[in-house]
Symmetry: C2
Subunit: 358 residues, 2 copies
């Protein structure tokens, strides 16, 4: 088995030990005679895996029973609609910070439902960045305020999170559990699993129960958060295998520890940013004050060299370094499970590529 260094922005690299355990048990889970994929979601084997994932997340997030951990389908993209459908009623206003592609996608869906106030807008800024906290003009009485903690495409990340006077909701798809964070400041936060938590096909939604209780009761049952709270994410058949992978990944996260992971994540990112800063060849695309530890975006002097970089890196075992199709360039996504050795290999490659093409 030859594993490559996988810089994909998501679906992304998973902990090797989680994959190996899943492989070992794939046809016969722990002597049950069945794959996890074949088990009733109401049986005792799956039930234990489901509830362990929930318990692990409560522990990792540092949250108590006033919050519900939910596993929903449709990814962050369905959350963009589900949030305003639940909470943005007629005559009400929701605040949104427009910090980039994903924030704008959330805003577009909210605008289909109700009244949106864009309280800061850095979507088109170059270099890419988040708004300064002092520049955000929250609306008094907004039903909720929505932020995106890390913009996966632009490579900008809030280093200090905004605090609105109204219930805060955050899309944390690309940096959840990558750093210590006071999650109790949020009424709700969510993340597609496929970056820091597991495979695609499940979204983690964590919601304060008293906030969920305020949700609109006249929308379809599957779109109400309360439905899934009442049934512990078992109202309908959940994406069992994806949740099982979260169980395995959260075991690994607990073993490593969030403080350790954060230190490693900062170290990994700094090594690449140091190359950018020491170079007249590479150019980082994010404002230094908002550089993401998860998605590092940069360019060479030309689009042709960008393409050559991605091609030669892939040949050297570093895959999926191409920037998002909407912006081009190069993007190194280095989530929790991305190994430090892969960053070292990239850094050496970057220096060598500069020598050869600079």
């Amino acid at each position: 088995m030859a594993r490559v260094y996988n810089f994909s922005a998501g679906p992304a690299v998973l902990p090797l030990e989680a994959l190996q355990e899943a492989q070992n048990d794939l046809v016969d889970y722990k002597g049950s005679g069945m794959s996890v994929m074949e088990m009733s979601h109401r049986g005792k084997e799956y039930d234990a895996l489901h509830n362990e994932a929930i318990a692990n997340l409560h522990e990792l997030l540092g949250l108590g029973d006033d919050y519900q951990v939910l596993f929903l389908q449709g990814g962050a993209s369905l959350q963009f609609a589900q949030i305003p459908m639940n909470f943005l009623g007629a005559g009400q206003t929701a605040d949104y910070v427009n910090s980039g592609h994903w924030a704008a996608a959330a805003i577009k869906q909210a605008q289909l439902i109700g009244n949106v106030n864009i309280v800061a807008d850095t979507q088109k800024d170059i270099p890419t960045r988040m708004p300064a906290l002092a520049d955000i003009r929250w609306t008094p009485g907004a039903v909720y305020s929505h932020i995106t903690t890390n913009e996966t495409i632009s490579g900008a990340q809030f280093k200090t999170l905004p605090e609105a006077p109204t219930p805060m909701i955050a899309d944390m798809s690309s940096d959840i559990l990558s750093c210590p964070r006071d999650y109790s400041k949020f009424a709700m936060f969510y993340a597609g699993a496929q970056k820091n938590l597991g495979p695609a096909g499940v979204a983690l939604v964590v919601i304060r129960k008293d906030f969920a209780a305020k949700g609109n009761i006249s929308i379809p049952t599957m779109l109400r958060y309360q439905t899934h709270i009442d049934k512990n994410s078992l109202y309908n058949t959940p994406p069992c295998f994806s949740i099982y992978m979260i169980t395995l990944t959260t075991r690994w996260l607990k073993k490593v520890g969030i403080e350790n992971l954060y230190r490693l994540n900062v170290e990994k990112a700094k090594k690449i940013y140091d190359v950018l800063d020491a170079s007249g060849f590479y150019r980082g695309t994010a404002d230094k004050a908002y550089r993401s530890d998860m998605n590092i975006t940069f360019r060479t002097p030309t689009e042709e060299l960008d393409a050559l970089f991605v091609k030669q890196a892939a040949e050297a075992g570093m895959k999926q370094l191409k920037g998002h199709r909407s912006v081009g360039g190069i993007r190194a996504s280095i989530y929790n499970a991305f190994p430090a050795a892969g960053v070292d290999t990239l850094v050496e490659f970057m220096k060598d590529f500069e020598k050869r093409n600079g």
Copy 2:
């Protein structure tokens, strides 16, 4: 490895060769150095798997390019809402056949959206059954007519499908691709994958493109069928690994062939029904004219004996035979991938159990 006979109603048994191939490639897919779970959904490896699943389904269903094969999230339960959100406008009527638990669940969601006409109702009939075709009173001008081809819980199945004068939509979650069927009679049909197609976490939706084009354009983007048609189910990150499992399962379905599968399915079901009919001990719960080939529901003389049956069968390697929690009793779900040898084992156990307890 000791595999049990897994009679789960879903998630359910998968073809062993599909599981073994997935196991073999789990950590390093075909020398790519990555798991399928770690691949960008826009990369060439995943793209090939995604499009193969679609092509296999077109071939197995016998449908051309006037239909779109979609892989969506949220299971059949979200389809219950998504269908009326797309197609049931103000002042319009949709016809629904209420044939049991799942049909009723679809009706409940449609009633939240618009005007529903229940054109036949056998939900509470004992023995469980589908309505006679002649008893269904379709509404002229209905925007669509919805049926459930097989009721997983009651064990009743349409042996001849109704034909409405208006666009037909069918929930085929528990019998899709289990028998030859003229799928071109439907404007749309759908199925949670976790019975005959793959693992939980993906719903197959097949829709005629000209019908989808009539969908409501003011609903959230993720809930519009047109969105997913335009992007070939890649508008957002799809449930990649679950779709990959459909690729493997549809390869197996093509190899066996639908005509063969149907013959085997009928043979498997008949063996169990023959035991019921020859017995004064067991009682089938479905009307003989509507007996499902997929979910065989029956009872012993008492609830205590039902429980003993389920317990002793599990001890003998036949698992998940307990009836749905809403009705109790015993249920043997024997989908496409359920092996004939498992039915033979069950039949012998049933005869023996009757001798010991009759």
